[in-house]
């Protein structure tokens, strides 16, 4: 594995390696001195063409705990504003001797394109509506940690599936690890030919949540409404909002995830977000686990000779 671009193209054994490594590395986060020397002298460059303080900070934490330099290119103020092409920008970063590029870009496939242009490992930190593999991994990690294993679990992904890279990474990662995936959302937010994905599709929340072990709630971008894909947030919230009430049909030990940032009162109620009223919400653990998973990714990709025992 040279890059991490998608979970669709990541093998079960690589996913397992990353989750196991993240489990081992998470221990470091609990130490008083959160630092290991593993990646000393290495430089991870984050290059975000879309704002995302959360993801970028998580990668920076991961790099710094592993003793790598974490350098952020403030894209908006840099050469992009001067019309430099993505190809030239990433080649320049490589020439500056970066050891790993972490890229967020609004265009689907941008990470693939960058990987084709440079010799150093590329981590996709979200490309358009395509994939967000480290988010997918941290969701798998969180579910596995709390539920014990992924095999056989029934997981509902609820909300704006069409525009969601988190949904796509979850679908491929979860199904590869043996979980069953349901997609739940209004017809206008489901992608074309959705029934050809390895999932079950529901446009009714109640039947979609019936008997599920895990609910992954997607963020609803409010501009979806402005583009005429939804009548109103109020109606969306009533039909698809995750509340203590709507979770009643799920399994009693149902686990709720949300990639953040949350729109409380829209796709998720306050009680569910805060894990009140007996709801098992893992929203904060997801953030911590994100650092552990990204440490594992950097450990795997920035090593000298690929993975031991595999090619």
């Amino acid at each position: 594995m040279r890059h991490l671009l998608t979970l669709r193209e990541t093998s079960e054994s690589d996913i397992r390696f990353l989750l196991d490594t993240a489990t081992a590395l998470k221990e470091i986060l609990q130490r008083p001195v959160k630092k290991v020397p593993t990646l000393r002298g290495r430089a991870m460059v984050t290059c975000f063409y879309e704002n995302s303080t959360r993801t970028r900070t998580s990668f920076e934490m991961a790099a710094k705990i592993m003793s790598a330099e974490a350098i952020n290119i403030a894209v908006a103020q840099s050469s992009v504003a001067k019309g430099e092409s993505l190809k030239d920008t990433v080649r320049t970063l490589q020439a500056l001797q970066a050891d790993c590029l972490v890229v967020r870009h609004p265009s689907s496939g941008a990470a693939h394109f960058i990987a084709s242009q440079v010799r150093i490992p590329v981590v996709n930190a979200g490309d358009g509506r395509h994939e967000h593999p480290t988010q997918g991994l941290l969701d798998l990690f969180t579910i596995r940690q709390i539920k014990g294993e992924l095999q056989g679990l029934e997981v509902a992904i609820v909300g704006d599936i069409a525009h969601s890279r988190v949904a796509r990474s979850n679908i491929w990662g979860l199904t590869r690890m043996g979980a069953r995936v349901r997609l739940v959302g209004p017809r206008t937010l489901l992608p074309a030919d959705v029934d050809r994905l390895p999932v079950q599709v529901y446009t009714d929340l109640r039947s979609g949540l019936e008997g599920v072990d895990v609910v992954n709630v997607l963020r609803l971008q409010t501009e979806r409404m402005e583009k005429g894909l939804l009548p109103s947030l109020r109606e969306y919230s009533r039909l698809f909002g995750i509340s203590v009430q709507s979770l009643r049909v799920a399994r009693p030990d149902v686990l709720v995830l949300h990639p953040g940032p949350m729109n409380r009162g829209v796709e998720i109620s306050d009680e569910v977000a805060d894990g009140a009223c007996g709801v098992r919400s893992a929203v904060e653990e997801q953030v911590t686990n994100g650092v552990a998973v990204r440490m594992a990714v950097l450990y795997l990709l920035m090593g000298g000779g690929g993975m031991s025992g595999q090619d």
Binding site: P106, S108, G109, A110, E131
Partner: protein, 430 residues
């Protein structure tokens, strides 16, 4: 000076001709087609034994990029690519800079083509000024200057009222209107066909119905105005059916298809391959099948390339940012022969008809375009049906390399063309 092409198989669909014969050329005109060895006198003999001789192929849908985008292609390089692909005539779309929307630009293109062209060039005029969809161009002047059609290619007319006025003008001037059929409200940010592949890739899609709705509207408006309508680069089964129905109703509608739309599917975009990004986009196997059937039953009149050169620096970018379009002149005949004729969907004369006499009729091209009748300009294509070759993007005559057919093995190749009786050798870049 008299020339004779001897020993070939002559196929001229305009006169229903397919037999071993010699073609006699007098000056820049066809003098006649005679039985093998019958031509007498002191003629220069061009030996075409084992080859096929056809009227010069016509591609009524290309983008030559001059004026304005000469770094992609210009009239010289584009017509050389055309000649290497067996074409003696091409019709160039108006989306240049400035656009072909004034008589001056038309004359510029014609003059350049006369000076440097390795094939004849017929400009197509814009429907609205600078293709903005607002103000009609001075179509009568465009026609007088030499345009053979009016088109909104690349900037499809969205407003039905504007479309109506353009069609009324075209009908009055007896010019065909060539429409790119796309309802932009349905495709606005799309970069490939809407469907499973786009869903997995996370690329905004362009639904097939967006083409069908626009085609249906344009057909209805043609019926209303009496304008001769030609549907450009048909890519969906729905539009093939609409065209078939329109013809059954006797409406003045014709249509064309490009090889990529029946050879490739949306899956060619996988890996974010920008050389498979074009508009209309590559569709599904069902659409490919419908286009093949439409060509076989004559619903689709013409085969074109929509040759759309783009520079490497424009195509080697993220998928969203890449421009639409691929080159096609140098692969067109081989694709037709390999994917339509050899599998038996079309006979060779039927395929040649769709690349010669059919576009000549749709556009009413002058000077005996698309025929080998005596008196016609001696524009001839010589084909080798046995040659097997591999498409190599780095060995294109075109200034651009954006082909999705790179590496594909094809059968059938152009030996040379004759333009007004003069041999134009095929270039084979190393």
């Amino acid at each position: 000076m008299r020339k004779v092409l001897t020993g070939g198989r002559v196929i001229d669909p305009s006169q229903d001709l397919d037999r071993a014969a010699d073609v006699v050329i007098e000056g820049d005109r066809i003098a006649g087609i005679v039985a093998p060895g019958e031509a007498v006198g002191d003629a220069a003999r061009i030996d075409v034994r084992g080859k096929v001789v056809t009227p010069g192929l016509i591609d009524m849908h290309v983008h030559l990029r001059e004026p304005g985008f000469e770094y992609k292609e210009d009239i010289e390089s584009g017509t050389r690519a055309a000649a290497s692909g067996g074409f003696t005539r091409v019709c160039c779309m108006p989306n240049t800079r400035p656009a072909i929307d004034t008589a001056a630009t038309v004359r510029f293109v014609l003059e350049r083509a006369a000076q440097v062209g390795a094939a004849r060039v017929h400009p197509i005029g814009a429907a609205t000024r600078d293709m903005q969809g607002d103000v009609l161009t001075e179509m009568a002047e465009l026609k007088a200057a030499g345009v053979v059609a009016i088109s909104d290619d690349a900037f499809p007319l969205q407003n039905a009222e504007t479309l109506r006025r353009v069609m009324e003008y075209c009908a009055m001037l007896d010019l065909p209107l060539l429409t790119h059929n796309e309802d932009r409200a349905l495709t606005h940010r799309g970069a490939m066909n809407e469907g499973y592949t786009a869903t997995v890739m996370g690329v905004p899609g362009m639904p097939r119905v967006a083409e069908d709705i626009a085609a249906a509207r344009n057909i209805l408006m043609a019926g209303c105005t009496g304008c001769r309508l030609h549907l450009l680069h048909i890519s969906t089964a729905g539009t093939v059916a609409l065209l078939r129905q329109a013809k059954q109703q006797g409406l003045p509608v014709t249509g064309e298809a490009c090889p990529h739309h029946w050879v490739l599917t949306e899956e060619a975009c996988q890996g974010y391959n920008t050389d498979a990004k074009m508009n209309p986009p590559l569709r599904t196997p069902e659409d490919c099948q419908a286009i093949r059937e439409g060509l076989a039953d004559g619903t689709i009149d013409c085969i074109v390339t929509d040759h759309a050169p783009h520079a490497e620096h424009e195509k080697r970018v993220e998928f969203d940012a890449a421009p639409f379009g691929i080159i096609g002149l140098e692969t067109s005949f081989a694709l037709v022969y390999t994917t339509l004729v050899r599998p038996g969907l079309l006979t060779l004369p039927e395929a040649i008809a769709r690349m010669t006499v059919a576009p000549a009729r749709v556009l009413r091209l002058p000077d005996g375009a698309g025929t080998l009748r005596p008196g016609a300009l001696a524009d001839i294509t010589v084909l080798d049906l046995d040659a097997v070759w591999q498409v190599d993007r780095d060995r294109m005559v075109s200034r651009s390399k954006n082909t999705p057919f790179h590496g594909m093995e094809l059968q059938g190749r152009v030996v040379c063309t004759l333009l007004g009786g003069q041999v134009v050798p095929v270039e084979r870049p190393e």
